[in-house]
């Protein structure tokens, strides 16, 4: 009986000794953090999700519309262009707790940002008149006609965006690179080495 009790004690001691050592070797997840660090992680996560939208890239695109109203008794041609803007942003409210993983021992953090969203931010109000040719017996283009030409170009651009991914790919890639640089510097300023990924 005495022998089995001492054997049990030895086994218990060994389990505590090696079990404790292996626990301290686990890479930092939020579960292993001290209460103070957990509060820090939780506060930072909460405030990051409250920072609304962060814009990392913007693209300007030129659209040109040619209006030809030539008839038998004279030419009537107008060429107009304007710029439209796209923006690539990250909606930080879509950040979830699993997207921010700290290793406080190694001072590293893995951040998985919400996907970059590309949307049309607007178009120039003014219109550039690139060329006009108005015959002697014809009247010049009016405001309504120019507005219609701009509208046709606007509709065409939306269709082009839907069928051609290249615009979105270019701006998304630039935005992702910028976001990585920004968040790396952000965490570095507080002594953390950051790995930035996207969903």
């Amino acid at each position: 009986m005495k022998q089995s009790v001492s054997l049990l004690n030895i086994l218990t001691f060994l389990m505590l000794a090696f079990g404790g050592a292996s626990c301290s070797d686990t890479s930092g997840s939020k579960d292993d953090a001290t209460p103070d660090m957990k509060a820090f992680h939780s506060d930072l996560y909460r405030e990051l999700t409250r920072t609304d939208r962060m814009v990392f890239a913007s693209m300007s695109v030129t659209k040109t519309a040619v209006t030809d109203d030539s008839k038998l008794w004279g030419k009537r041609i107008g060429v107009y262009s304007y710029d439209t803007y796209l923006r690539a942003s990250v909606d930080m409210s879509r950040f979830s707790p699993d997207d921010l993983i700290f290793d406080d021992d190694a001072h590293t953090v893995t951040v998985t940002l919400p996907p970059v969203e590309v949307d049309l931010s607007g178009r120039d109000m003014t219109l550039r008149e690139e060329y006009t040719n108005i015959g002697l017996l014809r009247s010049r283009f009016g405001s309504a006609e120019r507005a219609k030409a701009k509208e046709a170009a606007n509709k065409d651009f939306k269709k082009e965006l839907a069928r051609n991914d290249s615009f979105k790919k270019i701006i998304t890639e630039r935005a992702q690179n910028k976001a990585r640089d920004y968040f790396r510097s952000f965490f570095e300023s507080n002594g953390y080495e950051a790995t930035i990924n996207f969903k």
Binding site: V55, A57, M59, G122, M125, K150
Partner: protein, 203 residues
Amino acid sequence: MKKYIIGKIILYAFLLLILGVAVTAGYRYLSKEFRKPPVTTVRPAVVKDVKTMARLCTVDIYSELPVLDTINGKVIMAVQKQRGSVSFDLEKLHVDSSGDTVRFCLPPEIVELYEATDDDAYEVIDTKSLSMFRSGTLTNAEDNTVKRRLHARSLERLYKDGVIANARKEGRQQMARLFSAFYRKPVLVTDSTPRGASRVSAQ
């Protein structure tokens, strides 16, 4: 004699018929030409430039406004949908976290105001001349002047109505909370122009 007169009548009738056919064909062709609508061709989009930035967007703007303006004796009535945003350049933020308190100064706001890309974002209702002997058609330059004036008035209204002040307040609060959580220190934000730092924007 009778045959001569009948022959002449037939000849004149024939000529009248030819004339009638020619006039009808001409009328039909010309009215078809008149009715032919203008053809608008759109060229493919060309990327002008891509800029990278790190901006915190605190307010999105969307409005629909009537446009009533007079230029060079002509009046234009239209409706415009506008879209924009108020944001802050985070790269211009110089955060001093060396002491017990984190300090930074809120940078100038970036106000962007554009015509929306919604369908019929700019709809011309009517144009007219104030003078009887002048055309009411505006040139493109006159149209652009009207739009620049509208843009300036819209910006003015954003500042006057407190939209920019609210955006700055929101920006201050968001950044203060974020840096306080990040550095685990109290934050002191300086905003020397709480009602708006600048009136410079796109366009």
